[in-house]
Symmetry: C2
Subunit: 171 residues, 2 copies
DNA sequence: AACAATTACGTCTCGCGTAAGCATG
DNA sequence: CATGCTTACGCGAGACGTAATTGTT
């Protein structure tokens, strides 16, 4: 049972179809199908009944999904925490610099910024690899062909799976 | 950031050493090293300071780890839920059987059981919301139907993973 | 010397894409 | 017939083991 599998489940449930989930996750529908199947295989029962042409949560699936949502939220929050911890460093640096100036007005600004950050905590559809071009928001109205290669802040880039489109086939 | 990476982190922290973690996870120490490095690479800062011969959580690592623990607990609970859901079948069957007898005393028992379950779930702190899926609130709850490949939980055992030992080497 | 962690290198698993096969509305 | 899920097949990235290297007690 992996985190990615839960992400897939969530995508399917909230999108309503495998295809939509695939779109949202920037994967192919077969990948989604595989993932979910593996998850079901792992836990030992079906999560969605495919009999109805539109996938629908089974009774057990319903319960499982509720719990899964909680786990996903924790993960999401963990990611946010990580990002905050990264920003902490520079924040404290600029604070040190500012300390030589009269502080009183600055403190006000700071608290405002803090509030901003607090609200900025984005919702759910954090993408897995890195900050992709995917829009924030659960509205599910967007189709997105290309997932903007935004070269990250550092030179990391650790070879994420770029968009599908296998170059060559052989058959 | 994957679930497995968090597992590795947790293993290292609670075992105190990479080697111990490797042992616990039935992996090699290099695998553990790789996993953690990838995690650190992913989140952008070091979790453990390796300078001290015995790995020690960094300041940020401390914070991250606390949050990670929460996520891991959710995952663990999710797994438990899944297992319960598999066993759930027989439970509702016996309820159906009992339904032919006078119900009044039985209902009392049920609510007691429900309470038991509720307490049982509170092993992990901060369990709010629904009970772990067993026993829905009212008697009219739900009648499970098919939804399951009846082939139960016997044949799963996905993670046997005793010490692997690659068969062949070549060098 | 014994132990612990990093790392270079090689192998293999598995994630996922393409395409074809079914099923449903 | 259009739409959506599944399945067969294959490729490549990533996971991981072995072993050599370096640092610690």
């Amino acid at each position: 049972m992996t985190y990615e599998q839960l992400l897939v489940l969530h995508a399917i449930v909230s999108e309503g179809t495998f295809r939509g989930a695939a779109e949202r996750l920037h994967k192919s529908q077969s990948a989604v199908s595989h993932m979910l199947k593996k998850l079901e295989d792992d836990i030992g029962f079906l999560l969605l009944s495919r009999e109805a042409y539109r996938p629908k949560l089974t009774a057990k699936g319903e319960v499982f999904y509720r719990q899964a949502t909680r786990a996903l939220e924790q993960m999401q929050q963990l990611r946010t925490t990580a990002r905050n911890l990264n920003a902490k460093h520079e924040a404290s640096v600029s604070l040190a610099v500012t300390a030589t100036y009269p502080l009183t007005p600055v403190l006000n600004v700071i608290s405002q910024v803090k509030n901003n950050i607090r609200q900025q905590t984005s919702i759910f559809p954090g993408n897995h690899g890195r900050p992709t071009g995917a829009v924030t928001g659960t509205t599910g109205g967007y189709h997105h062909r290309d997932d903007g290669r935004g070269a990250g802040r550092s030179g990391r880039s650790h070879s994420v799976c770029q968009h599908h489109h296998y170059a060559g086939r052989a058959s």
